[in-house]
């Protein structure tokens, strides 16, 4: 910007320009400066403070030190159920989602007719309001009378309990999560379309077959997208709330097998009004997601390939 001013131009004017830029910059950013402070920074600090208090949202918070955290770890079986369920969900559904979304995108990228139609169909479930999604799912998966039992009955299997027994409820929710991977399919497809054709041409010249091209060209070029998908899904898995909440009424039925971390937190905060305890839950969640994300970022040097070579 400054170079546009001719060499002899008075320095005062240049200074003026930069002050004007600062004023304008802050003015234009002011809604967010305010929003960031009021809706993000203050609440984050406040919830750290509340996590060390006993607080029911009516009386003033009472400082209790680490008691909330100690209670969580030593004397709360529901907490451990929620942790287990959430890790189970994340651990099973994320790898499956990566594989499925990648595979669907690969097939779509094979320049078949109707690519747009397929993409639309795969994407649609992500648009459905969670209430509608949960309702259809409950209805489809009703043991005995739900449509999903029909193909199983052909093989003489009649006793699938789906969401009503602790052994299958978690798996059923993992299945449901696989049904809403449309956004990732779109992302992978966009990523695949960005892989330079010359790389494949060069591999062809070297006589590489499909599998070799897949492992040595496609996969490395797609690692940034996989990386993005994994990081966002880890955060997403810990925030899995509306669907299990609607399906079970927030009870974690059956036998706490669908009690996810954010449901437990919601119950502590807005049903039992243990705001201090719930804040401890929230901060713990924050720290755990932070650590996991950092670990993924660290290890990304080992497996994420950046074509530009900015990071090695």
């Amino acid at each position: 910007m400054a170079t546009a001013v001719a060499g002899g131009a008075p320095r005062r004017q240049r200074l003026k320009q930069s002050t004007r830029n600062t004023i304008n910059g802050i003015l234009f950013a002011s809604p967010w400066l305010l929003g960031l402070t009021v809706f993000w920074i203050y609440p984050t600090i406040a919830s750290a403070y509340y996590s060390f208090t006993s607080f029911n949202a009516v009386q003033t918070p009472k400082w209790v030190g680490l008691q909330n955290y100690i209670q969580l770890f030593t004397d709360d079986s529901d907490f451990w159920a929620a942790v287990y369920n959430t890790f189970y969900f994340a651990g099973v559904s994320i790898p499956l989602a990566v594989i499925f979304a990648f595979a669907l995108a690969m097939m779509l990228n094979a320049k078949v007719k109707g690519q747009v139609v397929y993409r639309t169909i795969y994407f649609l479930p992500t648009l459905v309001p969670e209430v509608a999604l949960a309702f259809v799912w409950i209805y489809l998966f009703t043991p005995g009378s739900g449509l999903i039992n029909v193909p199983f009955s052909w093989f003489g299997i009649y006793r699938m309990c789906w969401l009503t027994c602790p052994e299958m409820a978690r798996q059923t929710l993992v299945l449901l999560a696989l049904w809403i991977i449309g956004q990732q399919v779109v992302l992978y497809l966009a990523g695949l379309q960005d892989v330079p054709q010359d790389l494949y041409d060069a591999a062809d010249v070297d006589g590489a077959g499909f599998l070799r091209k897949f492992w040595n060209v496609t996969v490395p070029m797609m690692t940034p997208v996989i990386f993005f998908h994994v990081v966002t899904s880890v955060i997403g898995a810990f925030q899995f709330f509306a669907i299990p909440y609607i399906m079970t009424g927030g009870t974690g039925f059956p036998a706490n097998s669908t009690l996810f971390y954010s449901i437990y937190l919601y119950k502590q905060a807005f049903q039992y009004f243990n705001m201090g305890y719930a804040s401890a839950l929230a901060w713990l969640l924050f720290l755990v997601t932070l650590v996991i994300t950092l670990v993924i970022f660290r290890t990304s040097r080992l497996w994420v390939f950046y074509a530009g070579g900015e990071q090695s």
């Binding site: 546009a4 830029n21 600062t22 304008n24 910059g25 234009f28 950013a29 809604p31 967010w32 305010l34 929003g35 960031l36 993000w40 203050y42 609440p43 406040a46 919830s47 949202a57 097939m107 779509l108 094979a110 078949v112 109707g114 397929y118 639309t120 169909i121 795969y122 994407f123 649609l124 648009l127 459905v128 309001p129 969670e130 209430v131 509608a132 999604l133 309702f135 259809v136 409950i138 209805y139 489809l140 009378s145 449509l147 009955s153 049904w179 966009a190 997208v225 993005f228 955060i235 925030q239 509306a242 937190l265 905060a269 705001m275 804040s279 929230a282 969640l285 924050f286 997601t289 932070l290």
Partner: protein
């Protein structure tokens, strides 16, 4: 001579055979791919079809097992009945008030902030950008309780204000998306306008915003759909049934009157359809938005 021509003709013939083989290979391949894609498409469609089919079933048809896909005669009356019983238009009005206001707020505030981050060089803008992206990593649970207490202190809990007003103060995802877009607009445009003495706001309003229409549309659609689908926000902040949104209203209907699947599915179709239609008309905008926020992260 003769040998030579023979050679050239051979050379021409060889690729032709290859092409034929290639074509056959291509046909086989596309059949294989379609035969993998179609079952998946059916699985992805199934819940929609089932929603639609159930919404047209009478009570008797609901209990037939194995279930029928096409109910004859179709119980169209489920729709008017559902609309009346669930108080659909009241909830629709509430949802539209929240979704439209929040969308206007998000588009205005986020475009201003991204303009500052992308087009005005000022010290601290990089720090602000990093902070902005950092909030994307912050689980919503961390801010949930203090925010609730703030709104409670303000006396806003129980009405629409906590669901609308925060959106007038920007949001990280949309700021990020718009910033990426604004950066692709050549700086020379702004510089030329500066030379002509245009103010920063005028450049934003008259040059950048018109050029950024596709990105603004993406933000508007994303925000509208997010608010339309939102369940947790209304669940926490609304307690008067007259102010419920569609999601909350339909959920409450089920917990009060039990599983009347015909009516519930009719209502589900009614709250899903507007979004699906929006998507069909604006598909390009959608895909652009997803890839813009995804790849460059």
């Amino acid at each position: 001579m003769a040998v030579e021509t023979q050679q050239t003709s051979l050379r021409i013939a060889a690729p032709r055979v290859g092409l034929n083989k290639k074509r056959i290979k291509g046909v086989v391949r596309s059949i294989l791919i379609h035969s993998a894609l179609i079952p998946f498409a059916l699985i992805f469609m199934l819940p929609f079809l089932w929603m639609l089919s159930t919404s047209l079933k009478s009570d008797i048809q609901l209990f037939i097992y194995p279930p029928i896909l096409v109910p004859i005669p179709a119980a169209w009356e489920n729709y008017p009945t559902a609309v009346i019983y669930i108080d659909f238009f009241l909830y629709l009005r509430n949802t539209l008030i929240i979704a439209c206001s929040a969308t206007i707020g998000a588009v205005i505030s986020c475009s201003l902030v991204s303009y500052s981050l992308a087009r005005i060089p000022w010290p601290g803008r990089n720090a602000l950008f990093i902070l902005t992206v950092a909030t994307l990593m912050l689980p919503f649970q961390v801010t949930l309780i203090p925010l609730f207490l703030v709104f409670k202190g303000l006396g806003w809990v129980g009405d629409f204000r906590p669901l609308i007003i925060p959106h007038f103060f920007g949001g990280a995802l949309y700021i990020f998306l718009l910033r990426q877009f604004f950066m692709t607009i050549p700086m020379e445009l702004s510089e030329a306008a500066h030379m002509d003495g245009a103010s920063e706001f005028r450049i934003y309003w008259a040059i950048i915003l018109p050029l950024a229409k596709p990105a603004l549309a993406t933000v508007a659609i994303f925000e509208f759909i997010a608010r339309w689908r939102d369940y947790l926000g209304p669940l926490i902040y609304l307690n008067d049934q007259n102010l419920y949104t569609l999601s909350l209203g339909i959920y409450e209907y089920r917990s009060q009157y039990g599983a009347e699947w015909g009516l519930l599915m009719a209502a589900s179709v009614l709250i899903t359809l507007p979004i699906v239609l929006l998507f069909f008309f604006l598909q390009k905008t959608f895909v652009q938005g997803i890839t813009l926020t995804g790849i460059k992260g």
